[in-house]
Amino acid sequence: MRRLRAFGAFWYDFVVGDDWRVAIGVVIALAATYGLSRTSVPAWWLVPCAVVVLLSASLWRAVAASRR
């Protein structure tokens, strides 16, 4: 059981990393891009905007946490 947990923790750390909100944000951005691409509205801008928001928010959280 301990080894299974360590195995799961390794893959979580490998794929998700330090900030799980970034991974969730990427999934939401890609899903929204898919939804938008089914309409007549251009969808290419959504992921770059998500990158700006996700990276800035993640850094802000990290800096705020380091000051606590």
Binding site: D18, A31, T33, S37, P42, L46, P48, L55
Partner: protein, 257 residues
């Protein structure tokens, strides 16, 4: 993406990981037992070869759009994490990745550990330390090389870049017989974070059904735009003030150089 960009992206990513693995193997070999450490390297390379042999054909079989969506998403998550760490280090909010200090920590831990013989391995600690270092650092290298290569239908070139990076780093490590502390690792991680984020953005959005203006030429805008974003965020965080004990890395000047 042209062949040059593919080669540079994979080479830099692999070089960064190879520096970290070399530090661990050097610590295991010099303080414990070289033969056991090298056996650990060999065993780690066999595990990586099995992973690559299983993943490579599997990736080739996935339809391109699905591959770009999944791989783009994963690269984007990877890239944002690399870039986040690089910006925090460059702005002084996180300690710099210091190979010399990591080497000293590993050496101290290796000296304190007991010696145990298992089978043909004379020093089990040196073996497992090297094995873990090679597998853990190599797995990320394998993933980056395979995903970049399969997306660009040029796995041989990606593999060549990965092997060239590992050979260059190992040769340098053997030559100096010391941790490669002078490699600008933090700057390289910054550049790799930008590349992974840009290509992840491009492939992820394309896999999700978006059409980029200018098709592949959009990457020529995405890469510098994300670099500017990274540098702007670094400058912004530096202006906010940094903990006095941490020295910010000169990312902007080194990237330009």
């Amino acid at each position: 993406m042209n062949a040059g960009a593919l080669f540079v992206a994979v080479f830099l990513a692999c070089a960064v990981e190879a520096v970290e693995a070399t530090t661990i193997v050097l610590a295991a070999g010099t303080t414990r037992h070289w033969r056991s450490a090298l056996l650990g390297v060999g065993a780690g390379l066999v595990v990586l070869a099995v992973v690559i042999a299983a993943l490579g054909p599997a990736l080739s079989a996935v339809p391109l759009r699905g591959l770009r969506l999944v791989v783009g998403g994963l690269l984007l998550v990877f890239g944002l994490q690399w870039l986040r760490k690089a910006i925090l280090r460059a702005s002084g909010h996180k300690a710099l990745h210091d190979e010399a200090q990591i080497y000293l920590d590993e050496v101290a831990a290796a000296r304190a550990a007991a010696t145990e013989r298992r089978g043909v391995v004379q020093d089990w600690y040196a073996f497992t330390l090297s094995f873990k270092g090679v597998v853990l650092e190599g797995l990320e290298v394998a993933f980056i090389a395979l995903t970049f290569g399969s997306n660009q239908h040029d796995i041989p070139l990606a593999a060549l870049a990965a092997v060239a990076a590992v050979v260059a780093v190992v040769a340098a490590g053997v030559a100096v017989r010391a941790p490669l502390a002078r490699v600008p690792e933090n700057t390289m991680k910054f550049v790799v974070g930008i590349m992974l984020t840009a290509f992840g953005t491009f492939w992820g959005a394309e896999g999700a059904g978006a059409r980029w203006p200018g098709n592949d030429a959009a990457l020529l805008v995405l890469v510098p735009a994300i670099a500017v974003l990274g540098l702007a965020l670094t400058a912004g965080l530096r202006r906010q003030g940094t903990p006095a004990a941490r020295r910010p890395a000169p990312v902007a000047s080194e990237v330009q150089a």
